[in-house]
């Protein structure tokens, strides 16, 4: 005979009931103004992506290789621990990303929150959406455009720490010799995005 404590932990609570209560909590949290960070995942040809948004806009796009648990920990520490899986706020972002991967969208029209970056890195990241779909620039080009031609390595760090990959297209920045350079989602993902855009 198992202990009563053990039996109690098996008392019936249906997953569907908990899922319905979670959805209600997502709505209540939004109405009460305490849904600081909403997140969901979306499946894409480059693997699942985690999307997170504050009330200001999309704050994080993460590749699975970045470890979603770790990404959520950083959001909790640096933005707010009021982090809840709440897909609704990410509806527009998920739709646009889906259209992008289907080849039906060449630019993103989403409010962005650059809360996870600052200074020169943020300056570089804010420039990246100006590189058109299907085009590329070198780290050196970008350094010159943002007004600091010697800061080529710093541009590399800014791209490597881009909190909004895919949407903020750090994949469109290459080395001067035409080779790929690094990428937060791995080189296979960078190649896949450039191929999709017809830039490689």
């Amino acid at each position: 005979m198992s202990s009563f404590h053990e039996q109690v932990s098996a008392w019936p609570v249906a997953d569907d009931d908990l899922a319905a209560l979670h959805r209600r909590l997502e709505q209540d949290a939004q109405s009460a103004g305490v849904l600081d960070v909403a997140y969901r995942t979306v499946d894409t040809p480059v693997g699942p992506l985690l999307l997170a948004a504050t009330t200001d806009g999309l704050v994080r796009v993460a590749y699975e290789c970045e470890d979603f648990d770790r990404v959520l920990d950083i959001l909790a520490n640096r933005v707010s621990p009021r982090v809840l899986r709440a897909p609704k706020r990410l509806d527009d972002a998920a739709t646009e990303i889906e259209e992008y991967f289907a080849g039906r969208r060449t630019g993103f029209d989403l409010p962005l929150d650059y809360a996870l970056s600052s200074g020169f890195r943020q300056l570089v990241q804010r420039h990246l959406p100006h590189i058109a779909y299907g085009h590329t620039q070198t780290y050196k080009d970008v350094a010159a455009i943002v007004g600091n031609p010697k800061a080529v390595r710093a541009v590399g760090s800014a791209c490597a720490t881009n909190p909004l990959p895919v949407v903020v297209p750090c994949h469109r920045v290459l080395r001067t010799d035409g080779t790929l350079g690094g990428y937060i989602g791995g080189l296979a993902a960078k190649t896949a995005l450039l191929t999709l855009e017809g830039a490689a």
Binding site: M1, S2, L21, D28, A76, P81
Partner: protein, 169 residues
Amino acid sequence: MTQPFDRAVAAHGATVLRVCRAVLGAGPDADDAWSETFLAALKAWPDLAEDTNLQAWLVRVAHRKAIDVTRARKRHAVPTECLPDTTSTIGIPGSGDDDLWGAVAALPERQRLAVAYHYVGGLTHVQTAELIGGSADAVRRAAADGVRALRGRIGTYAADEATTQGGAR
């Protein structure tokens, strides 16, 4: 707390729902208490100490919310000569799993609360006594009486569980 709130929902959501159902019956009242508990927890989350025992803390919040739900229900109650048909708060009576919640609901109140907070919620007898009043010994006896009554009423269920868990002990 600096950890993402959703982890607390994933880790303790089911336990808190069991507590709410044991206290209020499986139905809309338990759902309301669960929702109010986690909304209050989300509001308090950034200010909550890192070393907080989350399950015990959530169970205490659930206790307060269950009282609120009960009071609200009484406020809205309208005296009437004959009882109208209402939705069952224990699912379809006699339909498998719901027998368990029905058996819990049928316990005398102090037994039910002692079982809910100690066995289901994991509080100690002392902590449970702080919530529902009386001495820790009285709570211990109420919980034991409640468990004995439940074993009798849901004997089949308990036996099945013992078998599926290997029947050790």
